[in-house]
Amino acid sequence: MVHPKQAASSQRKRQPLPVLPIFFVLTWLWAAWYYGSVFHISREYSFWVPDTRIMEFILSQSYGILRYIGRAMLQLYRFPWLGGLFMALMLTAGSWLTGYCMRLRPSWRSVQYLPALFYIAVVTWHGLDIFFEARTGLIFGIPFAALVVLCIWGMMIKSFSRKPVPTLIGIPMDETPRQNGIQFAVIAICLAAIIGFDMWQRPYVRVICRLLDMEYRQDWNGIQKLARANAKMSNRPMACAYAIALVQTGQIGERLYDIRLDYDSLHIHGMDGAHNNASCLYVPEGNYYGGFIESSLHASMEQMVMTGPTIRLLKLMTKCALMREEWELADKYLTMLRRVPFEGAFCKKYGAMLRHTDKINSDPEMARIRLTEPIHDSFESQYQQPLFMGYNLMLIEGRSKEALVNSLSVCLYTKLMPQFVERLEPLVGTTPPSIIMDGIMIAENKNPGISQHFSGMNFRQPQLQTFLQNIQPYMKDRPGHAYELFPKYKGYYPYYYFFGNLKATKKGYTTLSSSSSGVN
């Protein structure tokens, strides 16, 4: 005999939960909150306007219309919550239709979530590749195509069969608690596994995307905070964004070595399917913020040739054209951007600068860049690549102290001490930034007495001596101990000099691979 209260309680316990709506909420959280920054940057590295003439470069490719529609949908990720909502709706609707079209019995209903979960897994697996080199039309294009197929399939079933349509937002009454629980378990385990994989194998993806977004928003403090929070993670896009933030805030000589600069391999591939050095993600910006406007325009144009226009490239090229006072060119790029949904704010801000040099020169970002522009013309091919590094290694004459500090910082980064020492003279009698002081102390070894020409150096010598004593046990295997020593000596240039970036600096500063193409 069961007590009535116990029976009621048991009934409440057996009440199935609305798995589909919960799945919707979970995918929305994933698509907007967890992975939203990645999709948001994917939109920036994409381009879509309604005009099919302009989109011919996409439409003329295989599945062009699908890529076109996919890119259109991706525009919603201007606001990650909105894009995430749309993606969650698509994935949820797709799951629901999968269940209906496959006539899944309640005991097999967990299968209906697998295609959507598989999609999430594939996106996570690809990481940066989902937007790298602008293959962005497939992000929404593939689920959209699947949804269309399922809709047609479902309509056919509905037309020829009396099979009841399963509930979409209500409680599935035909499921037992066990069946209900299995569905939950499948979803939870799969999502946990995917997120676990992302955190374990692709931890840099969301960080890089957030940094790129902050870079666009000129959130220099945010970049520094995020980069330092992930200081052990090391990759070139992150290092470049961090260095840009330091340059923009005048701290390149103080804080560069707060993050590890050893550059782990990234899972990123070019159009040819080969592993890529991800230079597309930082060279145009690195040149721009380094004061090399023409080279930034050059690098951007090369990318645009290969991938077609992207919102990010067009924005950067607009700023470059404004800096060069090429008004018609800037207006051309702005005209393109005005046709892209949600880009009104950018167009308004930079449109106001057209034919107004004073507004350009008073913009904080651009004014800072002006300080480091070259004084004389030369050719890119005379320098090692990337240019914002190579040029600064050979800087002879700069237009500001900032340009000199950039140059000294690059010399220290590349560990080319003779070039560093050659450029110190303008700082004689001053107190240099701390990293440069540490560099001077290291240069003291081959240039005895050099530190005497600068003030504020007093405590640097004992600090360096202590450091050199402490690292003696590790000097036989520097690559092997670099990682474990980093937390202890984070931010200290001598650590970087002896243990950092050994692969690149062992053979001198290496160039990036360049194209073997001809004259167009």
């Binding site: 005009d51 003439r53 302009i54 470069f57 003329s60 490719q61 295989s62 159009m271 040819d272 090399f292 023409e294 080279s295 325009l297 050059h298 144009m301 090369e302 645009m304 040739v305 290969m306 991938t307 077609g308 226009p309 090429e326 018609e328 060119l329 207006d331 051309k332 005209t335 393109m336 522009e373 070259p374 004084i375 004389h376 013309d377 030369s378 050719f379 890119e380 091919s381 240019l387 040029y391 194209s515 193409s517 001809g518 004259v519 167009n520």
Partner: protein, 540 residues
Amino acid sequence: MRYTLYIYIIAATMLLSGCKPKAKLPSQYAEAGMEVNIYPDYKDVVVPPNIAPLNFIVRDSVGTEYVAHFKGKEAELVAAASAGGVVKLDTTQWRALLVSSKGSDVSVDIYAKHPDGWVRFKPYAISVAEEPIDAFLSYRLIEPGYELYRQLGIYQRNLTTFDEVPIYENNREYSDGENHCVNCHNYRMGDTESMVFHVRANHGGTIVVQDGKAHKVQLKDSTIITSGVYPSWHPTENLVAFSTNKTGQAFHLYHAEKIEVMDESSDLLLYDVTKNEVSHIIRTTSDLETFPCWAPDGRTLYYCSANRSRLLDSSLPDSLAGQQLLLKYDSIRYNLMSLSFDPKTRSFGKPQMVVDAVSEGKSISVPRVSPDGRFILYTQGDYGQFHIWHKTSDLWVKDLQTDSCYALTEANSPDVDSFHSWSSNGRWFVFSSRRMDSNYTRPFIAYFDKQGHAHKAFVLPQEDPEWNILLLKSYNVPELSRNAVSISERDLHQCIYDTEGENATYKTNPTAIVNLDGMTGASPKKPVDGTSGASPKKPE
């Protein structure tokens, strides 16, 4: 069902008619007292009677409606635009207007509806020439300059309409094994029955089209620097003169011009299409010869030549020549030269100086002789040969009757004006200019009158005038032709993809100039005879 369809049609008609304002002249208006700002600038230009409608945009920030009134001798045309100001002209009415106005002016009144009523801007005129322009213009569409290429093609535009068709497009999707570039298309005297262009990288070779058939050849030999580059069809013989160039480019860091393209070495070749034989016309190490161009009678070959040995340190190895020249890029200057040619014996004469630009501190490229043989149209800039990136480049002509050289000031702009092509009647020429935004070349059309003067140039008309802004590619190598290219894109694709290309046989030309000082035509060991290029070199 039928009623629903009717409703849709009626609704669509209403919607469309609502979008486009009525083309009706305002009955009351005030004089604006100022010139109208239109894009592109079609004010006070001379146009051919067969040109497509000159659609334009009225750039007026306060207008909400516009009306354009074109008034000719016997016909008129009224067109309207909404707030966007895009005026699209009716093709039939436009054609009737131009045909009836041949040899006279068409006056244009633009009215704008401002908040306080209609205003009329100062009128302007369009002169309609008697002579038509060749109906077809082919060009390559490619991003401006730079090193890489992806999607590109050679296209053909019908100038009497807005129709554009691809002659050939490369692979649309990236593929390591398929990526290729096409360039340097050229026709025999504006007749597309004989066509040549190059394919670079994968599937590379020179594509020769004749009698509707395409075949691929490889113009390679150990004595040839690279392969054929800039071509020129002989007017009567089945010959093509090519330059062969080792070209490089460098990117400026802080300069008004973005790119410098230079030849490290270059020579001239003659390709016999019938025999599939290639030989040297000029092969020198001391000079750079490029941009060959036949005179219409086929008895003179014009080309550009620069002395490079004066810029090189002879103590340094030749492998450093490119770097040495790069550092002296603004000292490389080309003269306009010529060689006589006997079509019967296929022999060349001695180099002759045609225009000594170097002594004036200038440099010449891309000579093109007018169909009547009287004028040589060329590009002149301060230095170098790739004037398409030089802001100082302007169009010049040499009148061979009067021996005078002068700039085509009316057609030129402060920006780049370069690569040009004559219409077969010699009254029009098309050229590339970066005047619109300093970066993306657009084809401009200019009238060349009987006195040898050019008139204000106008940009190739587009159905949507804003397309000049929206297109992110340059119009490269615009070539006029009387007829359309007849070979299909499919046939070209088949030739390019499915054939390796036959190797041309290298043959020594007894009259070739080898190892001579190409600027003077002199042997290094012998004194020269002024600028006439005496002291012919013994054949190799």
